[in-house]
């Protein structure tokens, strides 16, 4: 009888119920909320499901999936001698792909393979709209500095305004790993909420006459242009800001796979299998960084607020330059396409299309908005490279 009692006590003491902390319970609830949003409300489910489940796994009491006894992820040089790498939690080991930037770069490879730069090549002025829509990155950076974040943290928070998940993860993983969870969640949540965030700003900053503008059909882009473009852009960007070479390089490599016509199998793998595999690992491990100690702080709320500000300012930046171009070109450019300069592809372009049609049912802005949209991907990667150059110690 005594033995049975000892076994039951031992079972209880080793179970999660006896060691769970209040913060872990709250984090589990947060994970449930995100799972609900992803599955029921369909907010970026392909990313939010793995992120929320990673959060759930990392906060299971006693499971140790993010433990780091071998100190592989710390600066303790002799730590590796005391423990083996395989003693780390499984999610911690996979997280090495985030820390080393392997996952964000591979995601960019997939994005490149899925992206058609044709609308951008047909209308190069789109690039300026993509650049102007990075305004929110720097506004949020300034606000974060004023609020008391370190420059590295402020840069990582600011990049949420680029509306590009992999870029935000890339920069936060390098500059502010402790804020990676909240930053990734804010970035992906706001990307899912773009159809709610952007339309009021678009309406506020444009007149009905501007919103009704019909744009001239885009020219046909030759195969040669599509092949030369990724090669030269990778070289230009890497020469000016070497720290953006990894992101831009992989983006353009993926695009070259798609366009060159002799690597169809590689393009197919990059677009589908590889992107899906990396998305799972990236999502789960990014979610797993959200532990109670780091996540349940005032900083998280500030990051959520700053992220929204960054998104709004980026949208406004693109639209305001769109208005300038509307005036300069004598009304040939619809300012609504400027909002697509935030890089959330293709959601932001779809919002421009939907809003344009509300005021002119014969309007078809989608392809015109895809130009600034893909320019925004390049713009946010360049912005991240600049911030990494400033604060990454390179």
């Amino acid at each position: 009888m005594e033995m049975v009692k000892d076994v039951l006590i031992g079972l209880w003491e080793s179970s999660g119920f006896s060691i769970v902390t209040g913060k872990e319970l709250i984090m589990l609830l947060v994970a449930f909320v995100f799972l609900f949003l992803a599955i029921v409300k369909k907010f970026e489910p392909l990313l939010l499901v793995p992120i929320a489940f990673g959060m759930l796994l990392a906060n299971l009491p006693g499971a140790g999936l993010m433990d780091d006894p071998a100190f592989l992820m710390t600066e303790v040089v002799d730590g590796v001698e005391k423990a083996h790498w395989y003693e780390d939690g499984v999610l911690r080991l996979i997280y090495a792909g985030v820390k080393s930037s392997i996952f964000p770069c591979l995601i960019f490879l997939g994005i490149g393979a899925m992206t058609d730069f044709g609308p951008l090549l047909a209308n190069p002025i789109s690039l300026l709209l993509g650049a102007a829509a990075q305004l929110g990155v720097y506004v949020a950076f300034l606000l974060a500095i004023i609020l008391g974040f370190t420059p590295e943290e402020a840069a990582s928070i600011g990049i949420i305004g680029g509306a590009d998940g992999p870029t935000a993860i890339f920069l936060a993983g390098k500059l502010a790993p402790k804020l990676l969870g909240p930053i990734a969640l804010a970035a992906y949540s706001y990307m899912a909420l773009i159809p709610l965030i952007q339309p009021p700003i678009m309406k506020l900053l444009t007149t009905e006459k501007e919103r009704k503008v019909e744009m001239k059909q885009l020219r046909t882009v030759s195969k040669a242009e599509k092949i030369i473009f990724p090669i030269v852009v990778a070289v230009i960007c890497a020469f000016i800001i070497p720290s953006c070479a990894s992101l831009i390089g992989f983006l353009m490599l993926g695009n070259l796979f798609k366009e060159c016509g002799v690597t169809e199998r590689l393009s197919d793998t990059a677009q589908n299998a590889l992107t899906n595999i990396v998305t799972i690992m990236l999502g789960v491990t990014v979610g797993a960084t959200a532990n109670g100690e780091d996540f349940l702080t005032a900083s998280t709320l500030l990051i959520v607020g700053l992220g929204l500000t960054a998104f709004a300012c980026s949208t406004a930046g693109g639209i305001l330059l769109g208005k300038v171009l509307y005036l300069v070109t004598g009304g040939k450019i619809n300012p609504l396409i400027g909002s697509a300069g935030v890089s959330a592809v293709p959601m932001a372009a779809r919002v421009a299309q939907v809003e344009g049609r509300k005021y002119n049912p014969t309007n078809f802005l989608l392809m015109h908005a895809m130009g600034p949209n893909v320019a925004g991907v390049i713009g946010s990667a360049v912005a991240a490279g600049f911030l990494l150059m400033m604060f990454g110690g390179k």
């Binding site: 951008l120 090549l121 190069p124 002025i125 690039l127 300026l128 993509g130 650049a131 102007a132 990075q134 305004l135 990155v137 720097y138 506004v139 950076f141 300034l142 500095i145 004023i146 609020l147 008391g148 974040f149 370190t150 420059p151 402020a154 001239k216 059909q217 885009l218 020219r219 046909t220 882009v221 030759s222 040669a224 242009e225 030369i228 473009f229 030269v232 852009v233 230009i236 960007c237 000016i240 800001i241 005032a298 900083s299 320019a375 390049i378 713009g379 360049v382 912005a383 600049f386 911030l387 400033m390």
Partner: protein
């Protein structure tokens, strides 16, 4: 983290922000210039190639094989377009006009040059 306790002078942060957005605009403007030059160069080369091969027929024979069944294809001339695209265009015309394909007769499907009025058609 202490709220409003700045870890970097505001003037320095402002300078970084201004330089940062300027760098992004500069690089993307540079790429835009490159795209304009590239498109001109490609058109120039393509123009030269066309001049060197004057006899190449732009008109392809009637697309009898891949035109959807039921179309009165006759001698449809495909100019600068492929059979698949032509078939899609013919189906769209039929749908929009409300006339069955077997009662329509197409003479040609032609890709217009960019310089022609109205852009691509």
């Amino acid at each position: 983290m202490k709220l409003f306790e700045m870890k970097m002078p505001l003037s320095e942060a402002l300078a970084i922000a201004v330089i940062g957005i300027s760098v992004v605009i500069m690089i993307l403007a540079l790429i835009a210039v490159f795209i304009i030059l590239l498109s001109k160069a490609v058109r120039l080369v393509e123009g030269l190639v066309k001049k060197k091969v004057p006899a190449s027929p732009a008109v392809t024979p009637a697309a009898t094989q891949s035109v959807p069944e039921g179309i009165n294809s006759g001698d449809v001339e495909l100019i600068g377009t492929d059979e698949k695209t032509a078939a899609v265009i013919m189906a769209i015309v039929s749908e929009k006009c409300g006339i069955p394909l077997n009662r329509l007769s197409f003479k040609s499907v032609r890709l217009m040059d960019n310089d022609e009025k109205g852009g691509n058609k």
